[in-house]
Symmetry: D2
């Protein structure tokens, strides 16, 4: 319990640390309906503890501010109304300082509750601890979203301001240079088990652990690099409809896309090299690094061009179980699996049951974790998910092939 209280502090403080390089203005603005302001992330993660824990377990609960119940409710119909998602950036009040005060208030009350939790009856304590853990994992998910959202906002500014001071690349050799050659690791057919069965924290969508049959397949030893993706572009990848899913081609054509979200070609007359907008500002494109910020459509088209395909969730989990840490920490990896319930899936009871299950349509699963994922957050069975057009996440590609 004291351990949980310490973990609580650590995770909550990390969110505050992430917004330190940002001004009040940076924290307030919403760059597109899919993204949220940093201030909203700060408030919503706090709302989660206040609504799902304090409101239930705190004696004589009084809300910090009665309007916040609606204002910072993301999508929980079981809790009630929600402020419209596309209008999150219009909330200049409460100010950032007031939201920080909201955080401190809820943190103190949470710490008090945790300290007193021996007074709560036994079964309730189990539930309390489970909800606190859920709230902290939820907070970590928003830490990554906060970074993807602020990156998107800053990228929309023609001044291209960095989130962090530039991490100057010292010599040209760092930029060029190919990535290591890909090795193809083979896996036999068979019944495997995927999904989480404990111990340790997991989201409901990772359960139940169940059996799947996988046919023989191979997995690439690393993610696709910027240099490889550049070859796809230079080969006319964005101009050839035969490489794309039909809906993907419609989207690419309508949006006039010619490259990944944050790439830009230098305008200078004598410099045709590529730049990439990063959290450190505009930087030369490092060819041997993994390509990121791809949509499912781009990942899938690249795979076809490379005479490979995206792995299924089951293949990915099977391979990652064997090969370990190489599968994590660089970029989320699109799978070909539509986000769907596992056989026998049950959502959590109550309003938190809306956390995952109701999004299981028209989204694709990403596996692994990215450079922006908080340490310790991801795991083998973790299922991230986004629509096929989402590009502002740290999303890349690991190729697979059928056959042994």
């Amino acid at each position: 319990m004291r351990k949980l209280a310490r973990l609580f502090s650590t995770v909550r403080d990390e969110t505050v640390r992430l917004v330190q390089p940002l001004s009040d203005e940076d924290c307030c603005v919403q760059s597109m309906p899919d993204a949220s302001p940093a201030k909203w992330h700060l408030a919503h993660t706090t709302w989660f503890f206040e609504t799902f824990i304090l409101e239930r377990f705190e004696p004589d609960f009084q809300p910090f501010h009665p309007a916040f119940r609606v204002l910072f409710n993301s999508y929980y119909e079981g809790v009630g109304e929600q402020h419209p998602r596309a209008q999150r950036g219009l909330i200049t009040r409460p100010s950032l300082a007031e939201v920080q005060a909201y955080r401190q208030n809820v943190d103190q009350r949470m710490q008090h509750l945790l300290a007193q939790s021996s007074a709560v009856d036994d079964s309730a304590v189990g539930e309390l601890y489970a909800l606190v853990e859920l709230g902290l994992q939820h907070e970590q998910q928003h830490q990554e979203l906060l970074l993807t959202d602020i990156k998107h906002l800053l990228s929309m500014n023609p001044l291209k301001p960095p989130y962090l001071a530039s991490n100057a690349i010292s010599d040209a050799s760092e930029i060029g240079g190919a990535a290591a050659a890909v090795r193809w690791q083979q896996f036999d057919a068979g019944v495997i088990e995927i999904g989480h069965a404990g111990p340790g924290f997991f989201f409901d969508n990772e359960t139940p652990r169940h059996r799947q049959f996988v046919e023989p397949f191979s997995m690439a030893s690393r993610l696709v690099s910027n240099g490889e993706y550049l070859a796809f572009i230079e080969d006319g990848g964005y101009r050839n409809p035969l490489l794309w899913l039909s809906a993907g081609w419609d989207w690419v054509t309508q949006q006039k896309l010619t490259q990944p979200l944050y790439w830009q070609k230098a305008h200078a007359q004598f410099d045709s090299s590529w730049r990439e907008f990063t959290l450190h500002g505009l930087q030369p494109l490092v060819l041997h690094e993994a390509v990121t910020h791809l949509s499912y459509f781009e990942a899938e088209a690249y795979a076809r061009w490379a005479q490979a395909r995206l792995p299924t969730e089951a293949e990915w989990e099977c391979a990652a179980a064997t090969l370990g840490q190489d599968y994590f920490g660089v970029a989320w990896q699109w799978t070909s699996s539509s986000y769907a319930p596992y056989p026998g899936y049950l959502a959590l009871p109550g309003a938190v049951g809306e956390y995952n299950g109701k999004f299981m349509v028209n989204q694709y699963v990403l596996r692994g974790s990215s450079s922006a994922t908080p340490g310790g957050h991801a795991r083998l069975t973790y299922r991230n998910f986004f629509p096929a057009t989402a590009r502002w996440q740290f999303s890349g590609v690991r190729l697979a092939r059928s056959g042994g």
Copy 2:
């Protein structure tokens, strides 16, 4: 070969028979971008034979009309440009009579080609026959689409004209009355095989036959009835967000949906009974018949309300393999499976390779067949697919449950 020529006549004539109840005007108009005019179906199915067969196998091929190559190309990028889908209904010329002449011309040339096909070298004959069979299966798919599209067009007309003379329901007992009680048929866990391995015709998306592991499940002995679906409506099904996928709820709310596509409540002061628009015009809703024209979102919400779920493709195919004809001929049955390639899937070579594969995203598989499916067209491994919002198909629900 003579058998194929006879089959060719039979299938092609059936399409012409389907448009006989329609006027030139009925055949020309497009009721929404998803639907096509009957005249376009007549022309496009002909284009398929002209472009993929005559152009390749006919000596001294001359197109019937050079502009038709673009005008009646549905979506084959490998063939070239396409007339915009949403403008199919603006093509008042060629007239219906000219399109019928186009059909006759291509039919004659096809018959001539088939009669001469012994003159073609052996491997080419095999390819020719395969393409003819593909063209006929393609034509049968459009026969069902022609019916769904004309039903939609007529439903948009406030006069509610019938496609076929009314099939008057003779007494009230036919309307009311509950459907037979549902039995739940149980299936054990295990590795099963799904997909087609021949002999006989199949689409590329049904292959390769492969193994899947299914956990224990049960299947309902029949489809959900109109009466059961009405109970869902009367229980507030369209007003309760907790029953819906999040994207489904947004859609239902935005479109203000309260019932299936072709249902309407009688306005008359003393008559609160329901009507359904059918190919025979507006008819009393027959409670014991299977509910149709549901979207995936509605099917999925209904299943949740009924404390069940949609089956996966593998479950459906496993059950249908055992239980046979009950699974066919009433309505297509939504599965929970996103339309995706089977492991090892390869599209057909050449431009016909765009037939199926490029649509494998953001669509859900329907299995079985409907009352509008041509006889002999569907089969156990057949995969139909539509987006989660599609309602104008003859689509219904068969429930499944996890556990033995």
Copy 3:
């Protein structure tokens, strides 16, 4: 009265004559929400007589078909509900033949009513005749709209079918050749009167005749020619924002416009000449003819480029009153005047009062008449009106300048 009956026949027959070159399919389809199907024009003009005259004056009035009251009501809120404008093209039933039968039925009843009108009491006879005359003028307006709408529909067809057999241009000299030099006709400042004060038919929007002060101005002796407009294009007219109204530039940019609606540049390698889609099909652009199918935005930008401006309504009417028939019969001429009520304007009483008045916002007045206007329909005080983006009317430009 017998004269009115004869006029009734003449005008009504003319509408039927206009659709003779068209197939049932041509008559049914709607090419865009702003346009209506020819069949709808045939029915709506009949509805006008049935609703505003027969329903009021015919003893024992029975509607031809009860559903037509809504189906063919264009926009009269005082009459009741209207079928949605954008869905006029979905009405494949009633068929064209049924609509022709509707016309014949109403025509017979109207002739009977006119023959019996001596039996009607005196003041009512005056009203009856006024409404018949309004209905015939209304029919003539729809005759021109029928032509503009069918031209638009046929232009959307890649086969570019002609409405009328080609009117072949016999030698090249007809195509080239400049229009006659423009003369500038001067008018002094002063109080003038504009608007209609009878006798003869007029629309309510032409009244009351009233005084306006005009400052000195000059008017061009003829409309701008195709050759002159081509010079504007070749001078970069569609690429220079400084020539356009701000809203016009946004529209041109968003729609990627580069030329008038029906112009197209020949694709042939050795032929860079321009073609224009006409009622006789695709024809070489005749340089000395008046440019037509311009929007207000294009007309206004052209005028700025030509160091002139559009005339106001008052200037136009003042000049046309002096100069006569040269102002009519070629193309409608955009004025700079927003469509607004004249001082003291009163709409007609009753539901026909919606005819004109409720459209007096965000539209611009066109004066004169076009080659498609029925003979005898237009007059000096006639006010046509369309939004600033409308291009499918026979609309051109006559330039004006301030100063004597």
Copy 4:
């Protein structure tokens, strides 16, 4: 010249004073594409002086920041590219503090330039002073826009924060009570002159002063009150299509409008009174005050309901010339006049020529001034203009009638 320098300080300081009640966050956010962030107003008004004056008159001109030329260009195509209008709210950098520094820098340089202006040659001095005066008038226009835009932003916040501390209404008698009875002031027909002919500052769109003929009319002695407008609502004004222009009715129906922009009906069970969001927060609706924040469509529909009409520009200016200050300082008054050039109108030379002229389409003129207009800014001949749907301005109605 010293007077101009003092005026410069006064006006510029006033803009800074207006943002003092606002936080950095308030100043950064854009509530809709039509509105701009307060920070953008601060920067753009500064850009105006830098671009049109310093760049031209300052020796060795260096821009404060090269990117600002595009970033804070509103719509001057003659200056070059513009940052997209709808993305003004994404500019979190430069910060508010940096924009204030930009203001101070430009202010110092402007004062230096003005102090040195005797050194500039004579004709240039005249031009300089004219441009400075234009810049200050421009700044005053943005002062009012800043208030309308911040009011709109705060109104979108469910907390309904006030811009200024609440100006508590002390007793109920202030809220109720009818406005004074309207008197109708009559004007005879005749040729009048409208427009500006100097001396003193004026915008180009007020010129040239010219003659117009006005028919006899009457003007109401005051603006329409909240209480009168409430009677319109309670009489079903928003539900009766016959009161509205056709485009207005479509808009009201589609937007589901039932009341002026900032009105809301109290939810409380026992309190059915109306509230209005103001710069002092949510306040009881004061019935005798002038109704504001009406669109042209609402103003026009109200006038029809009240058996009156909107005045023309000429009528308004004629009446205001006689009746004086009563016509100013409460709310802008919609006229029925489309915003159009006066006869002989010439835009200013150079890029500032885009200031007014290019907006002369699909907008309606408002006359007078509002409670938010800076003192001394408006005048008899001043022409304000907005589209017919604009509601976020301080816009009201003064009725007119035809006839003496």
